[in-house]
């Protein structure tokens, strides 16, 4: 029995990818277990290529796993659905739809009446700061604004958990900082459970209650770093000693993993 306080439970997850050319399969995850509390903000970091994004897609049910289980509110996750909201790295908005019609996508797929969906969407468009842009097309928006639409599209289905895959990776440094602060504000209002994948350590610390550090492939959870910086946090928190110490700590774990995996690759190369 898991504690009733858990929103999302991952138990002994394993996944291997079979390469198309050879019979060999590559182990991506080896025995990952994780418990996420309701309204918790969790970030996943780790060396490049360790499978953070794959992990997130498995949580959503977009990709299957080989072994282990994933429970959302005690129910096994089999396929994607409105109980999970996914925010993609590239906004992947439908270019022929306006902001409004992109936001209602999730409701529309569930068969909600369009007029009702649009009425509901207004609130979410305001929440992400895009009031007045309802009838704009994605190509008329900046990258940051597109990601706001992407976020509203995920929030409107009122998901139990928000899965975010490096949503700010393609934004410039300034926009990125602003979006981080805005995301925290929205999270304060909605109190969704969030799993946030990023490769930026300070972004992970700034946003999260806990930072989960993945090891190099085959990935396991190397360490979970608790961030006890009080909320609400402003961007200036990034310059405090407490913040910088945490960043150092996470960085040294990742660096350790990167060096290890480089050593392993070199060994394999020599064989």
């Amino acid at each position: 029995m898991e504690t009733p306080a858990s929103k999302l439970v991952v138990r002994n997850l394993r996944k291997a990818f079979r390469s198309q050319r050879s019979e060999e399969s590559v182990q991506v995850f080896e025995d990952i277990s994780l418990e996420v509390h309701p309204s918790e903000f969790i970030s996943l970091v780790g060396p490049s290529g360790c499978g953070k994004t794959t992990f997130l897609r498995i949580l959503d049910g977009l990709i299957s796993h080989d072994d282990g289980e994933i429970l959302l509110d005690g129910k096994t996750v089999i396929k994607p659905g409105p109980d999970k909201g996914f925010v993609f790295q590239d906004s992947s908005l439908l270019p022929w739809r306006t902001v409004m019609d992109n936001v209602i996508l999730g409701l529309e797929l569930q068969g909600v009446d369009t007029r009702e969906a649009r009425r509901k969407a207004g609130g979410y468009i305001s929440l992400v700061g895009l009031a007045g842009f309802e009838n704009h097309y994605p190509h008329e928006l900046s990258g940051g604004m597109q990601q706001r639409v992407n976020l509203a599209r995920a929030l409107i289905v009122d998901p139990q958990v928000l899965l975010m895959d490096e949503p700010f990776a393609s934004l410039d440094a300034q926009t990125r900082e602003i979006m981080q602060a805005e995301l925290l504000k929205m999270w304060n209002q909605t109190r969704k459970t969030v799993i946030f994948v990023t490769h930026q350590i300070e972004e992970a610390i700034f946003l999260s209650d806990r930072v989960v550090v993945f090891s190099a492939r085959p990935a396991t959870i190397r360490e979970i770093v608790k961030v006890s910086i009080p909320r609400p946090r402003s961007l200036s928190v990034k310059r405090t000693k407490e913040f910088l110490d945490l960043a150092d700590r996470v960085w040294s774990i990742i660096q350790d993993e990167v060096l290890k995996s480089m050593g392993r690759e070199r060994e394999e190369g020599m064989r």
């Binding site: 977009l62 994607p80 409105p82 992947s92 022929w96 996508l105 529309e108 797929l109 994605p138 190509h139």
Partner: protein, 260 residues
Amino acid sequence: MGWLRQIYRANEKKVDAVASVILGIVAWDIVDGLFIDNPLILVGPSRIAEAFMNLLARGEIARHVYATFVEFILGYLVGVVIGIGLGVLMALSRTAKDILNPWVTISYNAPIILLAPLFITALGVGIASKIAIVFIGAVFPVLFNTYTGITTVDRRLVEAVRAFGGTGRQIFFKVTVPSALPLLMTGLRLSVGRAIIGAIVSEFFGSRAGIGYLISEASEAFRTADAFVGVVLLAIGGYTTFELLKYAERRIAPWYEYRV
């Protein structure tokens, strides 16, 4: 004169294009009237206009335009429907693609001008052979563009809809179809030219009416001006259809040129 220059600056492209056409027509007429006074070698715009008025008065224009239009529109519509159908089928089914691909490739690469006499021998000089030839001209650009439009759908968009619980059917109608639409529209536009060529060529090889018939019959009787009327009618018809479809394309998929 400042205001004139301003108007010119604002519409430079259009003014240049219109001026170029007008100058060309005037030059053509001058050469025809002053230097080469032989209607077998060259007929100028004023003689063509005269011939046009004569043909119009005798009801010949209406008869020929109607005949060609009916052949064109019927063959074109059948071509569009079957082109879209086969394109979708080949895009969605690997087996269908493997089976149909060699036939499509062979038929596409066979020049219409070679097929036309065969169709006329088989189907007669009536409208059936014309429709068949127009169809052959129209079907392939539609087929290829439908196929390409569907198979090159952005995987990221498909995944996004899937992530929100979209079913296969919903993905097809909410992502695949709208994203294939601009390319399909281009296919519709490209097949117009081929369809018109099909109609004219088929009339050359045997017919009793139509713009192609007018051109070939008038040339054989050395009525060069009448033949030119046919050419001008074709040019106007082709240009209008092409521009209309281009306009429709921009209206239906204004986002297309901005896609990433």
